[in-house]
């Protein structure tokens, strides 16, 4: 722990030679060439990890990029994408100038316009909307790292219709964690890599927290700690696991419950931890039919109660001196109640969760499940860690050491992108908490500003939408009951994406994946303008691509587009750009300012908070502008309250000016470092005009290191909690209680039973009753439950290649050489059963359609699963690729056959193909069959789409690249 040595790769076997003087070889090799004129330290954007990079500039060009050794995220390492940033920066697909559509939508026919014209078109359109009905602007921002700005902009505009891409990414993981432990994996927390002895990795996507995970895995391997991976596919991180459990997709919850069952049965749970840090002892009303059935028993002030097993009286659950009962059944004021833990024991000790009962469905031998449960218990309880550091808890109790159970876990999209993902994520956290391994040495640790209360405070704004009026808060937040939903009197959604409606009550990240269909259908209402930023919604970011494209181009009876106007900002000519009416060209990541803010997704690690910036290290050679600056100017032109001074003049010059001078609440702005006039404050303080320079001088980031006693038990650590309040992370220095039983969910259930003011429509009641269970449970993913499994016997998944970030990699001359065609990986035995051999071309068929691709046989995959690399298939005419590129001829996109809606229920209603709790897109529910295609169909992918026209003044991509030759010529000329 503490500050690690400079750089991750600093083992003695990774250091420079003891004597780095060049030997006298006499071969004329220049061993000390000049490498750069200057080094600019900024933040990578080749994926979502936000690593620190050193950009070496030579003769005004980027010579090379390496990892920043001091940076808390990557500590000097850099991934395959990061080193290929040059090829992204000089991509032939870069947009050059604002574009206005001239041909039909989707053709790619545009004319170039000046920025002034672009601004006036957008301003006129948006100001009209704002004057009449602000919700007619839907603003969705994709893989945006500036959500604290974009969300605030939407709020100032007055539209509730804002979200980024979280709804189709991993909101189950975020919400599952935030509603349970007040934090989650990836940006929210990390395993204690230095101390853990047993690490379980569930369904990980390799572009979130990827370098930190890789660095961590390297540490575990160096120490010989055991790595267990639970994943249908045995590639990437799973390849190096000591134990690979090739689980059947969608059954992780069952597997986890079986582990919990085993641990409970053997009495291998940390009761002391449960009593101190969770609501395990809180009493739950057990009065079926009553309006408070399943809610906590509370005192007059609303504090939850527990039962003191010594005094045999109800006591406040937060009374540190009490001796609460964990089991039993009690009667208080004539009302029957039991502690949460009793409900947990009742549920998970049931034989339906026994290893033998789940083994077949999981595709994991019962003995394996029992063995893993035994290993977890052994490491957690027999290999306990004790750090000799004294700390004080929230109640003032001093502890002489920090105790830890060195079992840690990490999970990501593989478990969250299912329609049962929310409950599975909760199940994982329940397992961690039962083992007493959250925020302890060797366990899973929070990254500040987490933990926050479970769930965090702010509720979503947007109940009332009025012309020329900002929302009363931010569009995204956390609901605690039906009264917080954004629905009308009849229970119909108020947001275009139906987030926070009965369809998806805990939709903490919105549902971007539903916007195009809903806007097309006018359900719940038609909109006027769809404004989007860097998300490839006409291709790999949408389910059901073929219909999505049709919806984007569909006309109404009057011959007008059903989605009347689309504004889109992107740096590259993606498959979505041709569908925009107005295109605002963005810069590359090396040409812009950005802030990686504590208000959004910061770069903290478990030993302290941090944030970072991007700053322009090279000048754009095109007429492009950073989207955030464009948004700020648009805000000023529209006169949005936060963006203009009282005299109506623009408040911020550009994004850089905003980053420094904007204050969200008093003294708290986008950046936490070097605040105050003199730059001596952290977290809170006046704006500092030199702040950006201080960041640049420090390598592009700010990081604060905790004192030793603040590093663990942050949910109940007085010193940490005081610090968190001072920084503005949490409002009060109160302990964060892990919510094993999620009371807010029970409130929705009660509404489904007819209690309360806001009631779900009749047709939704059974769904709410079933899925808003306050304790995690497992159910079959929706698609699997709805279809004929004989006809569609296989699961189909995508994985992200570690060297690609969604669709971006294919425009990159280096990365696309590694993968320009994706194969469908099929288990050897499955292929043999179907009479398929390596390299065969097959139709991959789902209930939603079919797509053609080439197969590769594999052993390391769950036998009932096929999978392929994500987003390699491309549409002809996009991304600067030539017409014969493998991506558009042999590569394929599984999205074409993933439905965006569930099958119709008894009432004929079709929901989004999403988790019923959070609205997370259920990408991995897909079921398919594969059929060998006819000989004449082999060799090319289908469906094929019309080739896009190229924007004006787009130069054909080069036939040859000799990048770097110029540096050598310059060196040789100088000699």
């Amino acid at each position: 722990m503490h500050r690690p040595p400079r750089g991750a790769n600093s083992a003695p076997s990774q250091r420079p030679l003891a004597d780095t003087r060049a030997p006298d070889e006499g071969d004329g090799v220049d061993t000390s060439p000049d490498v750069s004129d200057s080094i600019a330290k900024t933040t990578c954007y080749m994926c979502a990890c936000r690593c620190g990079i050193d950009v070496h500039i030579k003769d005004g060009k980027v010579r090379y990029i390496n990892g920043n050794k001091d940076h808390p995220v990557n500590r000097g390492v850099i991934c395959g994408k990061g080193s290929s940033g040059i090829m992204q920066h000089y991509s032939p697909a870069r947009l050059r100038k604002p574009l206005l559509r001239t041909g039909p939508r989707g053709s790619g026919e545009f004319r170039e316009i000046e920025w002034e014209e672009a601004f006036s078109i957008a301003t006129e359109r948006l100001s009209n909307i704002r004057r009449t009905d602000p919700k007619k602007l839907a603003f969705f921002t994709g893989r945006d790292q500036s959500q604290s700005l974009t969300g605030w902009w939407a709020s100032q505009f007055g539209t509730p219709n804002f979200a980024a891409h979280g709804g189709f990414c991993s909101v189950n993981m975020a919400a599952g964690g935030l509603y349970t432990i007040g934090g989650s994996f990836w940006e929210f927390g990390e395993p204690d890599w230095d101390n853990t002895r047993y690490f379980m990795l569930f369904g990980v996507a390799e572009d979130h927290d990827s370098n930190p995970i890789k660095i961590g895995l390297g540490k575990l391997k160096a120490r010989g700690a055991k790595v267990v991976s639970i994943n249908p596919c045995r590639t990437g991180y799973n390849a190096i696991a000591d134990d690979w459990i090739g689980i059947r997709p969608g059954t992780d919850g069952l597997f986890v419950f079986a582990l919990i069952h085993e641990l409970l049965r053997a009495g291998r749970v940390d009761l002391d931890y449960l009593l101190r840090y969770t609501n395990a002892h809180v009493l739950v009303v057990q009065e079926p039919g009553a309006a408070d059935d399943g809610l906590f028993v509370r005192d007059g002030e609303g504090n939850p109660l527990a039962w003191d097993r010594m005094a045999k009286i109800p006591i406040s659950a937060t009374d540190a001196s009490a001796k609460p009962a964990l089991t039993g059944s009690f009667t208080i004021d004539g009302r029957h109640c039991v502690p949460v833990f009793q409900l947990i024991a009742d549920r998970y000790l049931d034989e339906s969760y026994a290893p033998d009962a789940v083994a077949e469905r999981c595709g994991i031998a019962a003995d394996t499940i029992r063995r893993i449960a035994a290993e977890l218990a052994h490491v957690a309880f027999e290999q306990t860690i004790e750090l000799p550091i004294a700390w004080t808890d929230w109640a003032g109790r001093r502890h002489e050491t920090i105790k830890g159970r060195p079992v840690s876990m990490h999970a990501m999209r593989g478990i969250s992108a299912h329609s049962n993902g929310f409950h599975t994520c909760r199940a994982l956290h329940l397992l961690q908490v039962l083992l007493g391994t959250v925020d302890v040495p060797g366990g899973f640790r929070f990254k500040p500003p987490y933990p926050r209360s479970a769930p965090p405070g702010p509720k979503p704004a947007g109940k009332t939408v009025k012309p020329m009026t900002p929302l009363e808060g931010m569009p995204l937040g956390f609901v605690c009951g039906p009264d917080d939903l954004l629905v009308d009197e009849a229970g119909a959604p108020l947001r275009i994406d139906k987030a926070y409606s009965w369809d998806a009550p805990l939709a903490a990240h919105g549902l971007m994946h539903t916007v195009i269909r809903n806007a097309w259908a006018g359900d719940p209402y038609p909109i006027d303008t769809l404004m989007m930023y860097m998300s490839n919604m006409a291709w790999n970011s949408s389910m059901n691509t073929v219909e999505t494209i049709a919806m984007l181009t569909d006309h109404d009876d009057a011959g007008k587009y059903r989605i009347p106007f689309i504004i889109y900002s992107d740096a590259y000519y993606s498959e979505t750009v041709p569908f925009a009416d107005l295109v605002l060209p963005d810069t590359t990541y090396l040409e812009r300012h950005d802030c990686i803010s504590l208000l959004d997704r910061p770069i903290s690690h478990a030993d302290g908070p941090g944030d970072a910036i991007r700053h322009p290290v090279v000048e754009p050679d095109r007429d492009v502008r950073p989207f955030q600056s464009v948004l700020i100017e648009l805000g000023a032109r529209l006169g949005l309250p936060g963006f203009v001074d009282e005299d109506g003049t623009a408040k911020y010059r550009d994004y850089a000016d905003y980053i420094v001078n904007h204050e969200r609440t008093s003294g708290i702005g986008p950046l936490a470092g070097w605040r105050g006039k003199d730059g001596t404050s952290i977290g809170r303080g006046e704006a500092n005009p030199d702040q950006l320079q201080r960041y640049i001088d420090n390598g592009g980031f700010w990081h604060h290191d905790f004192a030793d006693d603040q590093r663990y038990y942050k949910m109940a650590n007085r010193s940490y909690l005081d610090f968190a309040v001072q920084m503005g992370f949490i409002p009060k220095a109160e302990p964060i209680v892990f919510q094993l039983y999620c009371e807010p969910m029970q409130r929705f259930r009660l509404a489904a039973r007819g209690h309360g003011r806001a009631l779900p429509p009749e047709g939704d009641r059974q769904r709410i009753e079933t899925y808003m269970d306050p304790l995690p449970f497992w159910y079959m993913p929706f698609e699997e439950a709805a279809i004929d499994l004989e006809k569609y016997p296989l699961h189909a998944l995508t994985q992200r290649p570690m060297h690609m970030y969604h669709s971006w990699g294919s425009q990159n001359a280096w990365l696309r050489q590694i993968t320009s065609q994706n194969r469908l990986f099929v288990h050897q035995r499955t292929a043999a059963d179907l009479g398929l051999v390596d390299d065969d071309w097959v139709w991959i068929e789902s209930i939603n359609g079919r797509v053609k691709g080439q197969i590769k046989l594999i052993d390391g995959v769950n036998e009932s699963t096929v999978w392929t690399w994500n987003a390699v298939g491309k549409r002809r005419g996009s991304w600067g690729l030539k017409d014969d590129a493998a991506e558009s001829n042999r590569g394929f996109l599984l999205n074409h056959i993933i439905g965006d809606q569930t099958s119709a229920d008894a009432q004929g209603k079709r929901y989004s193909n999403s988790d019923p709790v959070t609205g997370q897109a259920a990408w991995f529910d897909l079921r398919v069959r594969i059929v060998k295609c006819a000989a004449e169909e082999a060799g090319f992918t289908e469906p094929q789409f019309e080739r896009f026209q190229q924007p004006p003044h787009f130069e054909p991509s080069p036939d040859k690249l000799t990048f770097g030759a110029e540096f050598r010529r310059a060196r040789e000329a100088a000699e």
């Binding site: 590639t235 050489q817 590694i818 993968t819 320009s820 065609q821 590769k856 594999i858 052993d859 390391g860 493998a886």
Partner: protein
């Protein structure tokens, strides 16, 4: 290995050319064939022409042919450099022999010495060529005791069949030479069959396990490091279907061995000019057959790099 035409033609043409040169040198030098202007001119012209064309063709394989002169420098370690040196040095006695024979009309004295030296040069050059291939450990089919003798036998075979065609053309045909041609062609045939048989049964200690250091069990390629073919696969990853290969072996045997044998036997019985015609056809058929043989020599050679690609 990719059968680049420049290299296939190079080894076939220089093999035949050096074979012919060696025979001319030794037969001329020992005065077995008479000094004849046209025979000398055409014979040596053909030999040196084949050699020159082959060498020229081989530069087509070079990335920087203008630097080819540098290849003479590393004769101490490199068989390719030795081949370059030997091939060029051989031109000196060959040239002197030609001048003596063609312009001075003699094949004795210093001309004879030059002829014999040219023969030695030709043999040495063919050896160096053979050693280029025989020394390459990553290609088991080449790194065998069959390769060097094969180069020598095929050089002698194609050279003698050419020599026969030449002499027959000048009505100087000899039963001894015809017999030698027949014997050499039979030897070549046998050697090729033995080589194929050896290669087909080759048990190569190097496999995907030793290539990757992964001991025991099976090692199966899952994904290449790149989707499209790269230099390594284009140059060394050439694959030939078993069926295709069998067919080409048949064609090789027919053209390079069977047909020449039949025609040479016929030449025993036929009078001039028919013997000359069949001799020339035999030489042409054999040369074509040897091009196919040499193409297969490359196509059937498996470089260890293919182990990394699982192909």
């Amino acid at each position: 290995m990719h059968p680049a035409f420049s290299v296939v033609f190079f080894t076939t043409a220089t093999g035949a050319g050096y074979g012919l040169l060696a025979l001319l040198g030794v037969l001329g030098g020992f005065q077995i064939i008479p000094p004849d202007l046209w025979l000398g001119f055409i014979g040596l012209g053909l030999a040196l022409g084949l050699i020159a064309a082959g060498l020229l063709s081989s530069t087509g394989h070079l990335g920087r042919p203008e630097r080819a002169w540098r290849a003479f420098s590393q004769w101490r370690s490199s068989w390719l450099s030795r081949e370059g040196v030997a091939s060029v040095i051989t031109f000196i006695p060959a040239g002197l022999f030609g001048i003596g024979w063609i312009f001075f009309g003699r094949t004795n004295g210093w001309v004879a010495i030059a002829g014999l030296l040219a023969t030695c040069g030709a043999v040495v050059t063919v050896c160096t060529t053979g050693m280029i291939y025989a020394s390459l450990k990553p290609i088991a089919q080449w790194h065998s005791r069959f390769t060097l003798p094969g180069y020598l036998i095929f050089s002698a075979m194609t050279g003698s069949v050419l020599m026969n065609a030449l002499l027959q053309g000048f009505a100087l045909g000899s039963k001894v030479l015809l017999a030698a041609c027949l014997l050499l062609t039979m030897l070549g045939w046998g050697w090729k069959l033995a080589t194929w048989r050896y290669n087909d049964r080759l048990e190569i200690a190097t496999n995907a396990n030793t290539a990757t250091g992964l001991a025991g069990g099976t090692v199966r390629s899952l994904e290449w490091p790149h989707t499209e073919e790269n230099y390594l696969l284009k140059e060394m990853g050439f694959r030939i279907a078993r069926k295709h290969s069998a067919r080409l072996r048949e064609i090789t045997q027919l053209l390079a061995f069977a047909l020449p044998v039949l025609l040479l036997v016929a030449a025993f019985a036929l009078p001039w000019p028919f013997a000359a015609v069949v001799s020339v056809i035999a030489a042409m058929a054999q040369f074509a057959g040897m091009l196919v043989e040499r193409w297969l020599f490359f196509a059937e050679a498996k470089h260890t790099i293919t182990l990394y690609y699982g192909c």
